[in-house]
Symmetry: C2
Subunit: 369 residues, 2 copies
């Protein structure tokens, strides 16, 4: 049994196995564990404040569902950002066994694993339902597993904050020239695209964004969507709210499992973990969409925010530059290239269907609502 | 214990309770049941042939997941259409306790419960992710529960076939006049819309559609999307494939539970049932989208099918007439009116967000892929 497993079970599986009559390699089933009153306890570290709307709620809900589905035999104790390890220390904590599990977002690891960004969102990439289709049907999960395997980590999708907005601007954008020198917060590949177009992307933590925007340290910032953004108060510091969120058309939450801890679970508990995360993808997206829709209305009708679309010359420059940035990332290492190729193939396949099915329907619905 | 429960458990919960020391109203927990080696067995009837791509696969997967998540303590035996009861007899079978559970689609019950159609799809209504948002966040589930309560049935969403195509036509449509006298298969409210526009909707079972289209008994037919439609062979009988699927922008599968059987389950098994169905919403949609996208390409590049959009004058007539049909359904009874009002409010709220987030992104992605 690895170090990663030593500290986490009130009755360890090893103790139970030692006491069993047969010395075979087979492990006790969940019912057998339950019969002996054993409780498996896991530590879950997250990158979010406790119950942060969206991701924080998702993390707690997954822990609650696992307890419910296992009849209390598998309990997950949640530690919010900073309680056990720092917000961005959760990957290492799961890797070295300080925690059994994390809830976070893959693009945080871009510095050490360049291609990890593909598993949150790619500029001009896949929408939420398309992203799930790539991961589950198009080979995405196998690549993600392979990418994290050297760290002893198994990743799965867990929750989704949906299609994001493009960001808050203090002045309206007339055209491409307005990006030159623009002090904007935009992480991930979108920030690099902005940089190449002459903007000055700044890396600031979420807690400092409102003040930076209000005092002029920033000219613009993106965050998530209307639900979270209104809670952050951005509408009091900037009036122009741009769409689309070209840089983040999707917002997949990431659950990380310590591989050794996961492998040691009974089959039923493995299935319960995976199914709870899968169910949360739809539940969190439904919640984000509902709340985003409600907050959008308040922003427009109560707060006087102007919701605008990026000018076409800016969008064209963003598309071209995104293509260059993605191609550059694909050349970093062979694994990045394989992930890039798989993502692009899924994008080509799924976008043709989305255009004919979903987009034509959205156009046809105009004038009905 | 109701009649509905008598025939389904290898060791009945009543036997276990009689043998327990305390005569309280509390029930044995799942771990306690497992400890005693009890297995709960349910009968699941479906409206589909065994493993029919899409819905049939979904039904089997839910049964498999329940067994896996419960460590084999809760088993569901699946009966395909006609094995225990006919395809469209599953609602009554669950209501009277012949079966514990069904997997089907709500619009089949339109004849006896007019508003049931809202829980599959509404013409010009909600897209898959919007529909889930309405059911889970916008009050849809409570209305659905109330609608089926008089029948002793609890419904939940279970799987999704995604945005549908508009249908197969033997001749291209020039304009509204071409709908007059058109012999078309289109069930649900879409069929009524077509009838009011002068078409002659015909009710034919899926197994007869190909021949009817080939021999001219039908001029046009809709079914699902490219994945299922290509398997049905429609491309050999008609060349023009229309979008959007104005009549079915969503394809929610419906799981029905006998309320008394569900209430008698331990909390853990109730949670396992619900979570397995919820997870299947995303899993089935991911599969449908992936397979639809692949089959669409084959239809266009290999089978010589022309994918067209309904002419604008037809779309405008469809919108106006759909509005009239929906208003008429809302006047059938108070419950239909409440469901109509709730659905329209959700559509207004969610479509404004979809237009700004998803639709603007789909437009901006043009020229990138």
């Amino acid at each position: 049994m690895s170090d990663a497993l030593k500290h986490k079970k009130s009755v360890s599986r090893r103790d139970l196995l030692v006491g069993s009559a047969v010395g075979s390699a087979s492990v006790l089933s969940a019912p057998a564990l339950m019969a002996q009153g054993a409780v498996t306890e896991w530590k879950l570290v997250t990158s979010w404040p406790k119950n942060l709307p969206g991701p924080g709620v998702t993390a707690q809900r997954i822990a609650d569902q696992v307890a419910l589905l296992s009849g209390g035999a598998f309990k997950i104790r949640l530690f919010a950002a900073g309680e056990l390890v720092p917000a961005l220390g959760v990957f290492d904590a799961v890797s070295n066994g300080t925690a059994d599990m994390a809830h976070t977002a893959s693009f945080f690891w871009q510095g050490k694993i360049p291609a990890s960004v593909y598993f949150t969102a790619v500029p001009f990439g896949l929408l939420p339902h398309e992203h799930i289709s790539w991961i589950e049907q198009g080979g995405g999960q196998a690549l993600w597993d392979e990418l994290y395997a050297p760290f002893g980590i198994k990743p799965v999708m867990a929750g989704n904050t949906g299609v994001q907005m493009g960001g808050w601007y203090k002045k309206p954008l007339q055209g491409l020239d307005d990006l030159r020198g623009l002090k904007i917060r935009m992480p991930g590949l979108g920030g690099e695209v902005m940089r190449r177009l002459g903007a000055a992307p700044a890396g600031l933590p979420p807690g400092e964004l409102f003040q930076a925007l209000q005092t002029g340290v920033l000219d613009a910032t993106e965050f998530l969507g209307p639900w979270s953004d209104r809670a952050m108060g951005f509408q009091k510091a900037a009036r122009y709210y741009y769409s689309p969120g070209f840089h983040e058309p999707n917002g997949t939450g990431e659950a990380l499992f310590n591989q050794a801890a996961y492998d040691a679970l009974p089959t039923e508990f493995q299935a319960i973990l995976i199914e709870a995360c899968r169910a949360e993808n739809g539940r969190a997206l439904a919640e984000s969409d509902w709340e985003n829709a409600g907050s959008l209305k308040l922003l427009q009708q109560k707060d006087g925010v102007e919701v605008l679309t990026y000018p076409e010359d800016i969008l064209e420059a963003l598309r071209v530059t995104t293509g260059e940035v993605l191609l550059d990332t694909s050349r970093q290492d062979p694994m990045s290239n394989r992930i890039y190729q798989s993502h692009q193939a899924a994008l080509k396949r799924l976008s043709a269907w989305s255009d004919i099915a979903m987009r034509r329907f959205l156009s046809a619905r105009d004038g009905f609502v």
